[in-house]
């Protein structure tokens, strides 16, 4: 089983390396947010001192964790898209006929996708550091497991979505109905207290959004702090989404059985 695991992880890394434009696109998006939107929003949005921060911070510093989570979210969706593409092109059959348990195959895919997400985030954090948007040094180490966990959660969500999406063309809908609401209805760009003041109904949605907890886990980890509530949410959602994706890829119980043809 370990040989199969290694094969799947190596394949995902090779595919990532072969798709250089994917890597660039993954970096350009958060960098645009950081340097262009960040500059604009800084003037409009005042931030008070809220945990984990112990002093006033620049708006750009505030949005770095959210942008890291955004990188992971987009990578998870990219991975999900590639699963749908593989199914349409037929190469998914190879994976699903491997003589190893299906949960093991999906877990290997998930871990590979999370690993690629962490690599992308590391490059993003290095670029931010070069432009003087810096976190405590120890935070750069502490954030790696947090990013990996977030990668597992969002990757599992992507796996589940890929089992439900029947056609590649339908994927554009995912962008509108999953990625953007998840990102904007979270604490990635603005703190919860500001939303509770100005739009309490939206704030009540934000507290139920798993992406909010992904962002907060990363934010606290960057300051070498553990947000237990966020950790529990992320772990629980990872398990939930993974179980749903196992159901989604079960040839006997799900819609997938009727898609393999």
């Amino acid at each position: 089983m370990m040989t199969a695991f290694k094969a799947i992880v190596i394949r995902e890394l090779l595919r990532f390396l072969h798709q250089r434009e994917r890597f660039l696109a993954a970096l350009v998006r958060p960098l645009v947010w950081l340097f262009i939107f960040g500059a604009g929003f800084r003037a409009a949005l005042g931030l008070s001192i809220i945990p984990p921060y112990e002093t006033y911070i620049k708006y750009e510093t505030y949005i770095v964790p959210g942008l890291c989570a955004m990188i992971v979210l987009f990578n998870a969706m990219q991975s999900s898209l590639s699963m749908v593409y593989d199914r349409e092109m037929g190469s998914m059959r190879l994976l699903l006929t491997a003589p190893v348990p299906r949960w093991w195959i999906l877990l290997a895919k998930l871990i590979a996708s999370a690993f690629v997400s962490v690599l992308q985030c590391v490059v993003f954090l290095v670029i931010a550091w070069m432009f003087d948007i810096r976190m405590p040094l120890g935070g750069y180490g502490a954030v790696l497991p947090a990013l990996f966990l977030v990668g597992l959660m969002l990757g599992a969500m992507g796996l589940f979505l890929s089992s439900m999406i029947t056609r590649l063309q339908n994927f554009a809908g995912v962008m509108n109905f999953v990625i953007f609401p998840m990102f904007f209805l979270s604490t990635a760009l603005y703190p919860l207290w500001r939303m509770q003041e100005n739009a309490p109904h939206i704030a009540s949605v934000v507290v139920w959004n798993p992406f909010t907890y992904a962002v907060e886990l990363v934010r606290f980890a960057l300051y070498q702090k553990l947000e237990l509530n966020a950790l529990i949410w992320v772990c629980a959602c990872t398990c939930g989404f993974f179980l749903l994706s196992l159901w989604g890829y079960d040839p006997g119980k799900s819609l997938f059985s009727r898609k393999v043809r």
């Binding site: 094969a7 799947i8 394949r11 092109m89 003589p99 040839p251 009727r258 043809r261």
Partner: protein
């Protein structure tokens, strides 16, 4: 002796449409069985059931005596060539084969990969991207991949489509030779010139077996052509 493949009273439907009804099939170890039938007869569904890509609504599918519903271990013995290409276009020829070898738990596949690439006329293309291969070479690579884990069972769904006549004949001969050495073969095709007189032939229609016998017993290419003509005459 345990059958290599068993489908026992299998029912399967896609929504309200029944595709297989009480379908039973047994493949003896080392047999060469050709599965024929018009489009939509259920041939690829049989393939997908054996491959574990579909689970029957009722009945049981066993590979090497093990139910595919309960264990995927039986698939270790199975090599497959799908009707639709299952290659990863992002990877090279050798990366595709190494990936597949890894999925099948092969730790040092390089010498076997070299041997198969030479056997199938793909030497010198190891580093080529699959995207750059023509249809015939892609098909050869699919066959190399199926043979890589030294399978005891070979499932081939129209394996020679896209091959030139010489390559096609070489594949047909090689697979028959493997069958003679004990590999169980299920060969789905519409091309009757790929069959040998002693091959076991099953003709399917609407999810049922309508004839079974050796190619010679069923009248060879002429007899089976007439059989086909009776079942499938496209309205143009």
């Amino acid at each position: 002796m345990t059958d290599a493949v068993t489908l026992d009273a299998v029912d399967l439907s896609y929504g309200p449409r029944s595709v297989l009804s009480q379908f039973t099939l047994r493949l003896a170890p080392g047999s060469f069985t050709a599965l024929l039938g018009p489009n939509g007869a259920g041939k690829s569904t049989v393939f997908n059931l054996i491959a574990g890509l579909l689970r029957p609504d009722s009945g049981e599918v066993r590979v090497m005596g093990k139910s595919t519903s309960h264990s995927r271990a039986g698939l270790r013995h199975v090599g497959m060539v799908f009707q639709q290409s299952a290659l990863d276009l992002e990877l090279s020829v050798v990366q595709n084969l190494r990936y597949f070898a890894g999925l099948h738990g092969m730790k040092n596949p390089n010498s076997e990969i070299e041997r198969l690439l030479a056997q199938l006329g793909l030497e010198g293309r190891e580093g080529s991207s699959v995207r750059d291969l023509n249809g015939g070479h892609r098909r050869r690579l699919e066959i190399a991949r199926a043979l890589l884990p030294s399978p005891e069972i070979l499932l081939l769904d129209e394996p020679t489509s896209g091959l030139d006549p010489a390559s096609k004949q070489a594949i047909v001969d090689a697979v028959h030779a493997m069958s003679a050495q004990g590999v169980t073969v299920l060969w789905i095709t519409h091309l009757l010139d790929e069959l040998w007189p002693e091959d076991d032939v099953i003709v399917m229609q609407a999810g049922q077996v309508v004839s079974r016998g050796s190619f010679a017993e069923l009248g060879g290419a002429k007899g089976l052509s007439e059989h086909y003509a009776g079942h499938e005459r496209p309205q143009l």
